[in-house]
């Protein structure tokens, strides 16, 4: 494993493998990036595939027939999962960026209460919302067959 000589910690993209001192929030940071990159890749493909509609109804129906298989439905669901996570986690990050949800500043009395600790309830609420959205999408896919 490639390590930084100064810190003896993994360098480059390998640092994404660990949450570091931030723990759970560190992993969310990594998943946020991965889901963002996945959504960007999907958007690039989406722009070209949806362009087929300019060729008319027959071309569009042919493409939809080709796309109507369980593997692509599942991949589409993964895009939805990435969106649900990236959107709700992104909203959480914006709320924190604007200094909401972290409480007022307080005296540094031992044992210190770090900012990560103060943000945790917001993170838990966000992840419950993500879970509900992922479940709703999964139910739509499996039970309703869409």
């Amino acid at each position: 494993m490639a390590v930084s000589e100064k810190t003896m910690r993994p360098s480059g993209i390998l640092r994404w493998l660990g949450g570091g001192r931030r723990g759970l929030e560190g992993y969310l940071y990594v998943i946020h990036r991965i889901s963002g990159l996945a959504l960007l890749m999907f958007l690039m493909m989406h722009v070209f595939f949806t362009g087929v509609r300019l060729l008319g109804e027959e071309a569009w129906s042919g493409l939809m027939e080709m796309a109507n298989n369980p593997v692509l439905h599942f991949l589409e669901y993964l895009v939805y999962v990435a969106f649900a996570f990236h959107a709700v986690n992104g909203l959480r990050l914006i709320i924190i960026e604007l200094a909401f949800g972290i409480g007022p500043p307080d005296e540094p009395v031992y044992p210190y209460k770090g900012s990560i600790h103060k943000q945790r309830p917001l993170m838990l609420i966000a992840m419950v919302i993500v879970g509900i959205l992922i479940f709703a999408g999964g139910f739509d896919l499996v039970a309703m067959g869409h």
Binding site: L43, M44, V47, T50, A87
Partner: protein
């Protein structure tokens, strides 16, 4: 200062995308639920569903807006991630230029399709 401005724009774009994309994702991915609740539901990926959305002026404008915001937000993020791995100002400038050119190209293609479909079928 310029970087702060881009960062603020990125956050604003994220919030706007949240609203626009949530609507789009609900129509596309939660269609089973919507079919139960809406009486005049048209499957979103069928040709009539496509024409219904694609020829609605508000919907067309929101798609173009969503595309622009999504590409800006996405390529801004990609540029930031790549900049962490690449040393040297010149290389970073090339990456930034590449991201900008890709974003503009995709915006032109996507807007041509969206507006073209609106004009042809509307």
């Amino acid at each position: 200062m310029r970087e702060t401005k881009y960062w603020a724009l990125n956050l604003l774009a994220g919030l706007l995308i949240l609203v626009l994309l949530a609507q789009h994702m609900a129509v596309m991915q939660l269609d089973g639920w919507l079919e139960k609740w809406l009486a005049d539901w048209i499957p979103p990926l069928s040709w009539p569903g496509l024409v219904e959305r694609g020829t609605n002026l508000i919907q067309m404008v929101s798609y173009v807006l969503l595309l622009g915001l999504g590409l800006f937000h996405g390529f801004y993020g990609l540029n930031k991630i790549l900049a962490e791995f690449i040393q040297g100002d010149q290389k970073r400038r090339i990456i930034r230029l590449g991201c900008t050119v890709m974003g503009i190209l995709l915006f032109v293609v996507g807007t041509t399709v969206t507006v073209g479909f609106y004009l042809v079928n509307g």
